[in-house]
């Protein structure tokens, strides 16, 4: 599983960062990006799904 952030859609709500801080980082302006290559270990799959389901900009997706 991979988590992907569409940086064009991100407006810096930081919901993903608070729900999945091991998968997502934010820059000094609060805009999000996936950590590393976005690989989601099985124990963080729920956190990844929460990040997707709480982004008001629909900027986060998961590739199974």
């Amino acid at each position: 599983m991979r988590i992907i952030v569409d940086t064009d859609k991100c407006e810096g709500h930081n919901r993903c960062y608070s729900l999945a801080p091991d998968l997502i980082d934010v820059d000094d302006y609060g805009y999000a990006s996936a950590i590393g290559d976005g690989n989601v270990p099985p124990e963080l799959a729920d956190a990844a799904r929460l990040a997707v389901d709480n982004c008001p900009e629909y900027a986060i997706s998961i590739e199974e």
């Binding site: 407006e11 709500h13 930081n14 960062y17 608070s18 000094d28 008001p56 629909y58």
Partner: protein, 413 residues
């Protein structure tokens, strides 16, 4: 009621009764302020984009998808005039005070919006915001210590309303002892001032005067605070104009105070009237952060306005240039097409794309700070006062129009 040091009338606007909400709604109607939810539900089913001629005219979308689409409609909808009720066009005091300053970036369109937003975002990033947590926690504990022995408190006036002015003062680097003044000024702009432009103009002037003096002081004696940072910033090699800095400080003061105390107050109102939810958070404080998101969804306080720039067809209605469109994020958050059991406040809701902080380029820049204040304010309150409820016969009063929240919330414990 005249209750300000400047003797201005802060009474609620008087309104004619509303008979048809689809064609003649009134955002200052007492029923709308107290309980807008059934009104939005009715409109969604029949006339999802309502219209009124009242208060200089506006449109009110009520569905999530519509509100989100309209919020993203830039540049067709402009943010240059986010307050619904304008001062009379001959009011040159207001025009002079704010035509050039206003409150960037909330009152700006691109390209000014883009650089003026980037200017303040670093001060409100998640990491920068965390630095204000110890101050906020100590403040909440000190406030609670002042009333905990009494067994009763006005949780809006004596608690919720006291927190954001001091946090913002701390962040800006201005005297937190002026908090009572800030409360009066902000009430003058976003409380009574929403429907009384002459009151708003007066207090905007006071705020500008205050910040121009602070700016002059920082130029002589730079400090480690946000005002000094804004003055040191450069845009295309030029310093940011003083009036712009004053406008941004005005925004941080006004938008950072009224909105957040409304959210803290509404959250406390919910917990005072829903003992199961209160107990849930007392038993397991780790559920608090998620619960705050649901309380933000259910009681989102803010409805800013946009101005139509060119004739636009939208969902069967025609917006004309100059029309105001209300960004009804609170109504969007209650749309059953976007949220399962939208009218049920479920503090354990997992899927919650609420738009309490807006969407698109005007997403609330201070959302991380607002969340921090809510989490700390509610968390500390529950820790010190795990059992509380509304006082018997309590006269809870709400403010509303464009920022909704309780202004009097008598509780006992």
């Amino acid at each position: 009621m005249t209750d300000t040091s400047d003797g201005l009338d802060f009474a609620a606007a008087t309104t004619e009764p509303v008979e048809d909400w689809a064609t003649d709604y009134d955002i200052f109607d007492p029923d709308y302020i107290a309980d807008p939810f059934p009104i939005w539900d009715d409109l969604r089913g029949g006339c999802p984009v309502a219209h009124t001629d009242r208060w200089q005219g506006s449109w009110l979308p009520t569905k999530y998808d519509d509100v989100v689409a309209l919020a993203r409609m830039v540049p067709e909808l402009s943010s240059t005039d986010p307050i619904v009720v304008k001062p009379p066009s001959d009011d040159t005091a207001d025009a002079n005070a704010y035509s050039t300053v206003n409150a960037p970036p909330i009152s700006s369109d691109p390209p000014v919006h883009t650089w003026s937003r980037r200017l303040i975002l670093p001060a409100f990033s998640p990491k920068a915001t965390e630095a204000h947590e110890p101050f906020t926690r100590q403040l909440c504990q000190d406030l609670i210590a002042q009333f905990i022995d009494r067994g009763e408190v006005d949780a809006a006036g004596e608690y919720a309303q006291q927190i954001p002015p001091r946090v913002i003062a701390h962040l800006l680097g201005v005297d937190p002892e002026r908090a009572d003044d800030f409360v009066e000024w902000v009430n003058g702009v976003l409380g009574a001032g929403l429907s009384r432009p002459e009151v708003r103009t007066h207090y905007r002037g006071k705020i500008r005067e205050f910040f121009m003096a602070e700016i002059a002081d920082r130029k002589a004696n730079p400090k480690d605070d946000l005002i000094s940072e804004l003055l040191a910033a450069e845009i295309d090699g030029e310093p940011v104009p003083d009036l712009h800095v004053a406008g941004t400080c005005n925004l941080l003061l006004v938008a950072g105070i009224d909105t957040t105390w409304s959210s803290i107050g509404a959250a406390l109102w919910h917990l005072a009237t829903h003992s199961d939810d209160r107990q849930l958070l007392v038993d397991d404080p780790s559920k608090l952060d998620n619960a705050i998101e649901e309380l933000l969804r259910a009681y989102a306080p803010v409805t800013m306005a946009r101005v139509v720039q060119e004739q636009t067809e939208f969902q069967g209605v025609t917006f004309e240039p100059g029309d105001k469109i209300l960004m009804n994020f609170p109504g969007a958050n209650r749309d059953p097409e976007a949220f399962e059991n939208a009218d049920v406040v479920d503090l354990e809701r997992q899927r919650n794309r609420h738009v309490a902080f807006g969407v698109g380029i005007h997403r609330c820049a201070g959302s991380n700070l607002a969340r921090l204040e809510m989490q700390v304010a509610i968390g500390e309150f529950l820790k010190a006062i795990p059992e509380f409820h509304l006082a018997e016969g309590a006269n809870v009063t709400w403010a509303g129009g464009q920022v909704r929240g309780p202004r009097k919330l008598p509780i006992v414990f």
